[in-house]
């Protein structure tokens, strides 16, 4: 199974839109950001883990993007730049809210250290109706929310929003190697958190131990 990044709207189309916006057709800003409205919210929500804060940050990010559009350099991808703005806004909000004191214990792990999966519970297939069940979606959101922020950020950009490794690295200001390392760890931890998975009684009985370290 090979993953391919979800294609972004045409770079040239966006560059042309930006030129027109800067020339005074300001209403085109809505068209420019439309593909990314949900994405910005999802990323902010993943960082902040709070719906109201995430919405507020998303609004702030779009406002800031509009204000600073003149500074956007067209050789970059608009979506990556916009997400950088959103991530910075979310991080600032988080610092302001002192949410870092709620940092999960997984932050203390050594990123380069070896990792041993918690168990080897068999989890072969996903029932087709899984994602239609609200409680399962909530489990997934809670599991992701229990990871340390550096893992949440990488995972949401790559595996939820399907940004490329390179764009993820650029948006987060880290190396592609660091993205890969964190992505591996995030995927393994989520696999552990969500096992025994949908083959077992996951949806009815298991509890995701938020803020704990079940794979130690």
């Amino acid at each position: 199974m090979t993953l391919a990044p979800r294609s972004d709207p045409g770079h040239e189309h966006e560059a042309a839109l930006i030129v027109r916006i800067q020339s005074g057709e300001r209403e085109l800003f809505y068209e420019l950001i439309r593909p990314y409205e949900r994405r910005v919210f999802v990323i902010a929500f993943t960082i902040l883990r709070n719906e109201a804060d995430a919405e507020d940050v998303a609004q702030d990010a779009f406002l800031k993007a509009f204000k600073y559009l003149a500074q956007f350099r067209s050789e970059s991808r608009f979506s990556t730049w916009l997400i950088q703005v959103a991530i910075n806004e979310a991080r600032q909000r988080q610092r302001k809210s002192h949410l870092e004191i709620m940092r999960p214990i997984t932050d203390q792990e050594n990123e380069d250290g070896t990792y041993t999966p918690r168990d080897f519970t068999d989890w072969r297939e996903i029932p087709s109706e899984a994602l239609e069940r609200k409680e399962i979606r909530e489990k997934l959101v809670a599991a992701l929310g229990s990871l340390a922020q550096k893992y949440r950020e990488v995972f949401v950009l790559r595996d939820v929003e399907h940004m490329s490794i390179e764009d993820t690295a650029q948006a987060l200001g880290i190396s592609a190697g660091a993205v890969k390392t964190r992505l591996l760890r995030a995927r393994l931890m989520l696999r552990d958190l969500l096992s025994p998975g949908l083959d077992g009684n996951w949806a009815t009985n298991s509890q995701i131990p938020k803020g704990t370290n079940p794979w130690s």
Partner: protein, 210 residues
């Protein structure tokens, strides 16, 4: 599975250990392994139930989270977003008026606080109080002169040199204090400030009470 990993040399096959599978399994899903290693990983997975379990679990994780619709948007998200953007994007005069009204409200609050401040004018005020008006307008973009300590309303005549723009909230968090002149002018233009506000400057620029 305890085979040692060895690089592919000529016809020598690549053999991987469980530890190597664990390191490469994510890259495997990315398609970021060379063909020889990919084949070795798949051969290992076919014979090792434990690594196959990790493979299956990771595959399921990637599949389950692949739809951003898993994160529902709050009701009314789009109208609220577009409503907030409208003033800026569409350049409505309402935006300016709304800002002035909010400045006016802040000014009214500040003016009442100034009355109290006059009574203890000699008492130094902490910087955090000086930035109180900015906190009332956290998203207002303000200008910081490079190398300076004060932030201004853009276009302030007392601002010299190169500057960069940040929100008032950021400026406060970074320790900058507001220019009382341009704030005073902004408040005055809102028509909400009594003349005695001008005495505020000598009180250290505070525009809000304790």
């Amino acid at each position: 599975m305890g085979n040692e990993f060895a690089d592919s040399k000529g016809d020598k096959p690549v053999v991987v250990a469980c530890e190597h599978v664990l390191r490469e399994i994510s890259n495997y899903f990315e398609g970021d392994v060379d063909p020889a290693l990919r084949q070795a990983l798949e051969e290992h997975l076919a014979q090792c139930p434990r690594c196959q379990s990790i493979h299956d679990g990771m595959r399921n994780v990637i599949a389950l989270y692949s739809d951003e619709a898993m994160f529902p948007l709050p009701d009314g998200f789009y109208p609220r977003l577009h409503g907030r953007l409208a003033d800026q994007v569409e350049g409505r005069r309402l935006s300016r008026r709304a800002w002035l009204v909010s400045v006016g409200v802040s000014g009214a609050l500040a003016a009442s606080a100034v009355c109290a401040a006059v009574l203890d004018r000699l008492v130094p005020r902490p910087l955090s109080e000086m930035s109180q008006p900015a906190r009332r307008l956290p998203q207002r973009l303000v200008a910081i002169v490079d190398g300076g300590k004060i932030f201004h309303v853009p276009g302030c005549p007392f601002m010299h040199g190169t500057y960069h723009m940040v929100t008032a909230q950021e400026a406060v968090l970074e320790g900058y204090t507001p220019c009382t002149r341009c704030m005073r002018d902004a408040l005055r233009s809102a028509g909400k400030v009594k003349p005695d506000f001008e005495g505020e400057e000598s009180a250290g620029g505070a525009t809000d009470g304790k």
